[in-house]
Symmetry: C2
Subunit: 255 residues, 2 copies
């Protein structure tokens, strides 16, 4: 036992920092409050800025902080519970929670999607772009891939693209009689276009929800929806909305 440290593994600095900062957030800060800037925090804790940033990154990943370039770092509100259960392709959705179709195009789907659709390697399909908003905030961007065979009655060429076309495709898919679906969730990083919709930088962590829409057991469409991982909690149950009833009005630091 001479040279070996006895059972005390030296914790990385950034990990310890994260713990300390996390506790400070609980006790000394309120939601929305602005933290001191990174250079000052680093100096205050006696570490390099890169180390401090590593701790902040983790806290942001856990949804406890929100950082915006040119603005600052703020304390994040608790994650939004977003229902991802049975709301279908054009699901009803509460007034404050809705999908908004943006566009439509004919594209060759990515390989992973083509495999699920069981279409040929370079067969073009309709790609409907939608975004989902909850409580006035954009939380998800989606690409819905619909093979032409799934919407046989779609008018040929009314308008080649745009929201109207997107709505047509959705309507026809609905009419086809979707009667089943299965989903999977995995971690990903936002592509440039998704990042833009979600108001994040490219590469931001996202939860990718892949949905197969079934018509009589056959895959009629596939959707790739990317949810902001920092601000969202995906709920699946029927009574999923477990909101923490905090007093809505909290002290905010006067500026």
């Amino acid at each position: 036992m001479g040279t070996t440290q006895l059972e005390t593994v030296p914790e990385p600095k950034y990990w310890h920092l994260k713990t300390v900062l996390g506790e400070a957030l609980d006790s000394e800060f309120t939601v929305g409050e602005i933290l001191p800037n990174e250079r000052e925090l680093a100096a205050r804790f006696g570490v390099a800025r890169a180390t401090l940033r590593q701790a902040l990154e983790q806290l942001e990943l856990e949804g406890r902080l929100q950082r915006r370039r040119g603005v600052g770092t703020t304390v994040a509100p608790p994650r939004l519970g977003v229902d991802v259960s049975a709301t279908g392709a054009g699901g009803p959705g509460a007034p404050e929670d809705a999908w908004q179709p943006l566009d439509c195009a004919l594209v060759a789907p990515p390989a992973a999607v083509a495999r699920l659709l069981e279409t040929g390697p370079s067969e073009e399909v309709h790609a409907v772009r939608r975004v989902r908003s909850t409580h006035g905030q954009c939380v998800a961007a989606e690409l819905l891939y619909v093979p032409a065979a799934s919407v046989p009655d779609l008018p040929a060429i009314e308008t080649p693209s745009g929201p109207a076309r997107a709505r047509s495709v959705l309507r026809e898919l609905q009419r086809a009689g979707v009667n089943g679906q299965d989903r999977s969730v995995e971690l990903g990083s936002a592509r440039a276009d998704d990042a833009k919709e979600l108001d994040r930088l490219p590469g931001a962590p996202v939860l990718v929800v892949t949905t197969r829409y079934l018509v009589d057991g056959r895959t009629a469409a596939v959707s790739l929806a990317t949810y902001r991982a920092d601000t969202c909690r995906l709920t699946f149950g029927d009574t999923g909305e477990i909101e923490i009833s905090d007093d809505p009005q909290r002290e905010r630091r006067a500026s």
Copy 2:
């Protein structure tokens, strides 16, 4: 339009690197193959090691790489589809996919769990620790919180802890007649103890599945299961198992 760069935003180096490396992985590497070490890769691309690491980090987050200290960086296999739908507290589970109880203790649950359980602030509950293995690999670590009130017939003090005690609690919970559940999924980072079970470093990205087990509409237990985000894809549908049928035996570099 004099000083502004005309529509060409300079892509960050690490982002471009990630793209290049990603394409190389698709075309020039096979699953399990070892990449050159970080210092050499950085030199080869003419960037600092930190920048190269930023690209590798992203690829690891997306499940395309696997890095292990002291060993090296390897090409990761496609993510495992792990079913997270209706397998109950002591669910049946396929032979190759099972939960294994490890331990049991009486603890005061974290605040978030206490809120879901609707127990008092410092009321102690049973905490059962389990790990889940699929295809011989540990993919998840779970803490199941069971209030004493939910398992009234639990023998008082047979053994205070250990796997046997854990199994008793699970059996009694099952007997209580769980008839509902709801789940939520969010991004988190592995705590030290979870990281150990999952063979990852603390702070590794995980998908946290929170499950409420219901008995006649009342919350009887709450489970926090952390799945390795790098290697797992959580599936929810009924026919969720969409496996890419690769040849199971692949060439691995001889050492």
